[in-house]
Symmetry: D3
Subunit: 136 residues, 6 copies
C-alpha cells in the first residue's frame, strides 16, 4: 500500500454568515470572517490517494490523470470563484473549510471507482496557520 | 545605511473590473479576475525601511513600532475586507496589486517623517507566483 | 470525524545537558546542543484537534478559541523564554523536543474536556529538517 | 510512543521509460518524464521513526546517528546521481517515486534492528506539488 | 516605475563538465556536479519586469501575456529536458546557473520591445540554498 | 556582472539588553527580547557576491569555496552559540540583527580580496517576518 499526494491551489472569495441570523449574531460568532462584502484566500488543496503500485508503470496512479480529475471536478469550479455564490456543491452550506473539505471528498470519491486507487484524505490549508483534514 | 523588512499578511476579496466597461470587455481584458462575484487572496505585504542604526539600541527602527504602524494604517483596513468596496484609500481605483502597492506606499510615507528612517520599498506577493514591488 | 490543525510559533533558548553529568559527558552525548551558554530556535507548534462538525457553525471548533487556548496555555509561557529555566511545565526535564511535545500535550489536554473536540496530535518543528509528533 | 522526522535532500537525474517498450509507447504512457536525455529533481526525503523516549537523554534516537544512517545508506548513493544508472538498489526497476520510496524503506529497515526505534514512514517530495508516502 | 515578478518552475537534468578536459580534471573542478550520468534540479525561474502602470487596466503588463511569453520561450524548452543536450540556446556553453540566467535574459529581451515594459532581472534558484541573479 | 546568493543557517541564543541600563529600562526598550534568561532563533544568512563569470568554468565563484568561507568564518562561530557571550566579533555590541549583519560583512570582506568577486549583500532573516539587509 502506497500513498500519493497531489497539491493544487485555488484563489476564492467567501464569507461565514448565516442568512437566518442577524448581522450582529453573525459577527459575534464568525468575527471578521462575517464581513458582508466578503474576504478571500489562496487555498491549497492536498488530495491523497492510496493503493498498490502498478508493476507495469511503477505508478500508483497516472499523475496526469489525477491532476486532470482534480482540476476538472474541483479547481475549475473553485478558482477565482465565490464559495458561497458560485459553487454548485457548496450550495446551502456554510463555506467553512471543514464543510469544503467534506464537499470536495464527496465530489471526488466517484471518480476513483474501478481505478484500483482509493481516496484517502482531503487536506485544505486556508492560511499558513490553519488547515483541515478529512478521511471520509 | 541598513535595510529592515517586515512581513505582514492579510486575506482579502477583490475583482478586476471597470464599471464603465461591459461584462464581456471586462472578462476579455481581466479574464477570471473579473468574476462578478469576487475572488480573493492571502496577500503577503513586505515593508522595507532604510536608515542608520541607532547606536543606543542597535536598531534601525523599533520593530514593535514598525509593526504597529503597518497594522494600524494598512492591515486593519485590508484584512478580511473587500479591496474594491471596503478600503478608503483604494476608492475609485482598480484593485490591481500594482495600484495597491502604490496606495500602501502613500498611506505609510507620512508616518516615517521625523523618525530618521526612510520608506524604501513596498512588496506585495499576491500568490506564490506573482509579486509587485514599488520604490516610490 | 474531521481534523483541524493550528500553527503557532515561538522563539526560545535551551540547551541539552544534565546537571548530574560532567561537561565532557554532556558534550559527548548531546554534541553542540550542550553548549553551556545556550542556543535557540524558531519553533513551530502544530496542534491538531479532531471531532464532529457543529452543524450550526460549520466549525469543528471556534478557531479564535483554539488560538487563544494555545497562546495562553503554551505560547505565552515559551515565547522569548529559556525552556530550561523559565517554563514551569518543563522543570526537571531535559528540554528535548520529544519531552517538550509531551509536556505541551499534558498542558493542553484538560482544556478540551467537555468541548466536543479531542486533542489528536502535537507536532513541533525545531528546524526545517527536524520535527517531533506525539499522539498521546 | 513518539515520532521523529528527519528531512534530507538530494538532487538527481532520472527518466521514466521501459527498455522493452518503443519510444512512442514510453512517451504515450510516461509523457515528458520519458525524455530520453533525462530530466531531474531536487528531491526531499522525510524519514519518520517511532518508539519510546530514552529517559536518560530525552531522545527517541540520537539525531546525529539518524542523520548519519540516512546519509551513508541513502543520500550519498542518490545525490548528484542518475537514479536509473548509478543506484544499486534501484537496478532493474522503473525510477518512479513510488518505487524509490519502497527501495529506500528496504535499505533503511535493517539499520533500526536492535535500536529500540522502528522505521515508521518514508516520504519523498519530488516537486512542491507531488509526494509519495510509504509505511511498509 | 513599478516592478512585477513572475515565478515559473522547470525540472531539468544537467552536468558540469568540459569535453576538452579529462574526467579527473572535470571532477576536480566541478566535484559531484561532473557526474557523467547527469544529475538534476527543480529550478525556480523569477522574471522581473519594470515600467509604468497602464491607467486603463491598473497593470504594468498583462500577467497572462507575461506567463505565456515565459512558458513558450523558456519553460517549454527547459522543463523535463537536459540542459546540455536538449536546449538550443545553451548549445556550446557550460550549463552553470550563471550561464543559464544570461541565456534566458537574451532569449526574453526581444519579446519586450515595444511593450512599454522593460526586462529588469532574471533570477534562478537551483536549490533552496543557491541562486543567481542577472540584470543585463 | 552577475550575482550569486548562498544561504546558510545557524541556531543561536541571544538577548537584547544593555548592562549599563536597569532591567526595567531594558524591558521597556527591548520588550520580551530583553528576557534575562535569553531566547533564540533559527537564523538564515544570505551572502550575495557579484562579479564576472569565469569563462573557463561558467562560475562567478566556486560554490564549494564560498560555502567553506561562510562556514569557517561565520557559521562555525555562530551555530549553537550565544551571540552575546560566545562570539568574538560581536563582543561589546548589542546582538541586534542589524549589528550582526554589519559584523558578518566585516568578517567576510577580507576573504574576497584578490578573488575577482565582490561581496554585495548580507541578509539575515531572524524570523519568517523580520529580516535585515546590509550592502556595506
Amino acid at each position: 500500500m502506497i500513498y500519493i499526494t497531489r497539491r493544487e491551489t485555488f484563489n476564492a472569495a467567501h464569507k461565514l454568515s448565516r442568512p437566518d441570523w442577524s448581522d450582529d449574531k453573525n459577527e459575534n460568532v464568525f468575527g471578521k470572517c462575517a464581513n458582508p462584502n466578503w474576504h478571500g484566500h489562496n487555498y491549497q488543496l492536498f488530495v491523497t490517494v492510496k493503493g498498490e503500485i502498478n508493476p507495469e508503470t511503477g505508478f500508483l496512479v497516472d499523475l496526469k490523470w489525477l491532476k486532470e480529475v482534480i482540476n476538472i471536478q474541483i479547481i475549475d469550479k473553485l478558482d477565482h470563484k465565490n464559495l458561497n455564490l458560485d459553487v454548485d456543491f457548496m450550495k446551502g452550506q456554510l463555506s467553512s473549510t471543514e464543510n469544503l473539505a467534506i464537499a470536495i471528498w464527496k465530489e471526488l470519491i466517484p471518480h476513483f471507482e474501478g481505478t484500483g486507487a482509493t481516496l484517502h484524505a482531503i487536506k485544505i490549508a486556508e492560511t499558513e496557520n490553519n488547515s483541515i483534514e478529512y478521511f471520509g
